[in-house]
């Protein structure tokens, strides 16, 4: 497979260490916070931003993200509204153009209802670079959707876990572009505490596989120490639940977001 040139692949070709990807849920805490948080994260220097498309039944997520999804839906967030909010954010003539790579993370059903091709087309139009859809397994993606995603230059990021077999990891590596999302342990989001020896053993095992794609570690990365450890074994890490909790407690101001990112990167 040839790498599609977009902001994610450009990023990884320029920087391969200590990348920080921060997740937030669109429409949380308030419906119109999306651009405020996105610009705040960009200003704070994060490398990638993952925007959650809220879903009523996010089974791979823990309580924190589920509650933020529920609140966002109560606020009236939808995929259409999210695209409306992102419209024009990449335009250079705007006062503060968004240049950071953007991923959308969510579940397959809202995407199916929007229409997969319409979704990819809209992602391309508003400047979304990739998606993470945990309940769209690789085989179904390849069988049905890969050509559409590629046509619009949208990267599909796949997950691996400690239980993923070596042969499947090789297959995922072969069929992925952008990066591989390493789920740190057998868990849902926001549920692990610290990095255990068995997690380190898994990180080392994957590191030794010399995959062609860069790797970001997610689930359980919630402070400077866990971020640092993840960066020893991968190209960077993804923080989600901890940022949602921070937004809830400290608000969405640029200062609050900067404080959070500094805490993680220190």
């Amino acid at each position: 497979m040839t790498l599609t040139q977009n902001r994610i692949t450009d990023l990884f070709s320029q920087k391969s260490e200590r990348l920080l990807n921060v997740y937030f849920t669109a429409g949380f805490p308030q419906l119109n916070d999306t651009m405020t948080i996105l610009r705040g994260l960009q200003a704070a220097g994060v490398d990638l931003v993952e925007i959650g498309m809220p879903y009523s039944d996010p089974v791979a997520d823990g309580e924190t993200i589920q509650q933020s999804n529920g609140k966002a839906l109560d606020n009236g967030m939808s995929l259409k509204t999210l695209f409306d909010q992102l419209e024009g954010c990449r335009q250079e003539q705007s006062s503060d153009p968004v240049t950071v790579p953007i991923l959308l993370m969510g579940y397959i059903n809202p995407v199916l209802q929007y229409g997969v091709e319409a979704f990819c087309k809209k992602c391309q139009e508003v400047g979304v670079d990739g998606v993470i859809l945990p309940d769209l397994p690789l085989d179904l993606y390849l069988a049905d959707y890969a050509p559409t995603f590629r046509e619009y230059g949208i990267l599909n990021v796949n997950l691996i876990t400690p239980q993923t077999t070596e042969s499947r990891i090789r297959h995922i590596d072969e069929e992925s572009d952008g990066f591989i999302y390493m789920v740190s342990s057998a868990s849902i989001t926001g549920s692990t505490k610290g990095i255990s020896d068995s997690m380190r053993a898994y990180f080392e095992r994957i590191q030794a596989m010399n995959l062609r794609n860069p790797r970001l570690i997610g689930f359980g990365i919630n402070n400077h120490d866990t971020f640092d450890t993840a960066c020893e074994y991968a190209n960077g890490a993804i923080v989600g639940s901890a940022f949602i909790r921070h937004l809830e407690e400290k608000g969405t101001s640029a200062d609050s977001i900067l404080e959070f990112v500094h805490t993680i990167r220190a």
Partner: protein
């Protein structure tokens, strides 16, 4: 779905787990190893003669099978056709659910699993799971919506008495959908030594097929029993209630390819199909993905799952199994929406006419008889999926 579409004439599941447009395994990578392990092994395990021998022995000696096929004379007179009741309410634990849990606990043992997780709506599947875990000495954790725990308290007590841990699901509508989410999360967090016993013909492939196979004992027995009583194996209609649809899948299974037999599914219309308080999935839903498979789903325009409602906790689910979605989509099945009131009246009617208090779920199937335009020479088999003891507090409010 594009390339995964299979020919739509078959009611067998495809290699990839599809029935027509519906099915598949839409699961996060965290569940892939578990589901794949099951997919690669379930047919070999359940076709193994030693498994078969143990399964059938337990169904006979422990569950009490075969369950009777009862000619309901007074009900027949009332509805104007010959009505037989397949008495799954006489199974050990009080419902058909145990047919499946016996099968799955034997599968779990052969996969070397140490712990069982399950979801439950009315509590019948939870009780059936707790029962087989006690029988086999495995740890049992059952997720149940906190609202369902209130309205089905006797079943909560039964599960606890059987040694299970009952965990309240407090998210969303706090009913079956959310209990299923929580059970899936538990499985994600405990992937190696835990087997998830899904109680209906829902979830990722191979669950719908595996559960349908275990429940197919219902129609297998009906064929033999009906022949013995009438000289014909095939009724004109088989009627069953559908929430997820496991008793219906079992009652329909051996008739799927018998086009002279109409398959009738009763869904819960709650306070009315268009009342905003309903679980009539085929009437209100459209194709979508929930809990690991593509099926017909009650959802908003944006693809958010709509909270269902039914007086019957076992039917309070926003989707149906993919086999049922295919039966509806292909026209093979007739789907009726039965309101809470219609179900209650059918439950009271059966109690008075035949001395059988049905589960509220089964009462929905009985209520469908009134809507079917039956002819005097029609032979109808109704799957009486469970007994009504657990629903007495609900019934008593309407006495």
């Amino acid at each position: 779905m594009q390339t995964t579409l299979e020919p739509q004439t078959s009611f067998e599941v495809s290699d990839k787990g599809f029935y027509g447009h519906f099915g598949g395994a839409f699961i996060p990578e965290m569940l892939y190893p578990n589901v794949e392990e099951l997919r690669q092994n379930y047919l070999n395990i359940i076709n193994d003669p030693a498994f078969q021998a143990e399964f059938w022995q337990l169904l006979e000696d422990y569950v009490g099978r075969p369950t009777p096929l009862f000619l309901a004379r007074r009900l027949s007179e009332k509805v104007g056709a010959t009505v037989y009741l397949k008495r799954e309410d006489l199974c050990h634990t009080g419902a058909h659910k145990v047919n499946n849990t016996i099968g799955q606990i034997l599968v779990a043992q052969r996969l070397g699993k140490k712990r069982i997780v399950a979801e439950t709506g009315a509590g019948q599947h939870g009780v059936a799971t707790a029962t087989v875990c006690a029988l086999m000495g495995l740890e049992c954790i059952v997720y149940m919506g906190s609202i369902d725990m209130e309205r089905q308290k006797p079943n909560v007590d039964r599960m606890r008495m059987l040694g299970a841990t009952v965990v309240p699901a407090t998210s969303g509508s706090q009913t079956l959908k959310d209990a299923t989410n929580e059970a899936m999360r538990h499985w994600i967090n405990n992937p190696v030594d835990t087997h998830y016993i899904i109680g209906s013909v829902v979830g990722p492939h191979p669950y719908p097929d595996m559960v349908a196979r275990f429940q197919s004992v219902i129609s297998e027995e009906v064929k033999k029993q009906l022949f013995a009583k009438t000289g014909r194996q095939n009724p004109d209609y088989v009627v069953a209630c559908v929430g997820g649809g496991s008793n219906a899948a079992g009652a329909f299974f051996h008739y799927l390819n018998e086009p002279t037999v109409r398959l009738v599914a009763a869904e819960a219309a709650g306070q009315g199909v268009n009342s905003g308080h309903s679980a009539a999935t085929t009437a209100l839903g459209k194709p979508g993905v929930l809990h690991g498979s593509r099926t017909i789903l009650m959802q908003t325009e944006d693809g958010q799952v709509i909270e269902p409602y039914s007086i019957s906790a076992g039917l309070d689910y926003p989707g149906i199994g993919p086999l049922h979605a295919h039966l509806f989509d292909s026209g093979r099945g007739d789907f009726y929406a039965i309101s809470d009131d219609e179900a209650l009246q059918a439950g009271f009617q059966l109690s008075k006419l035949e001395g059988i208090i049905p589960a509220l779920e089964s009462a929905h199937a009985l209520a469908a008889l009134e809507k079917m335009n039956l002819k005097p020479d029609d032979v109808v088999v109704v799957c009486l999926s469970g007994r009504g003891d657990k629903d007495l507090s609900t019934y008593s409010k309407h006495l």
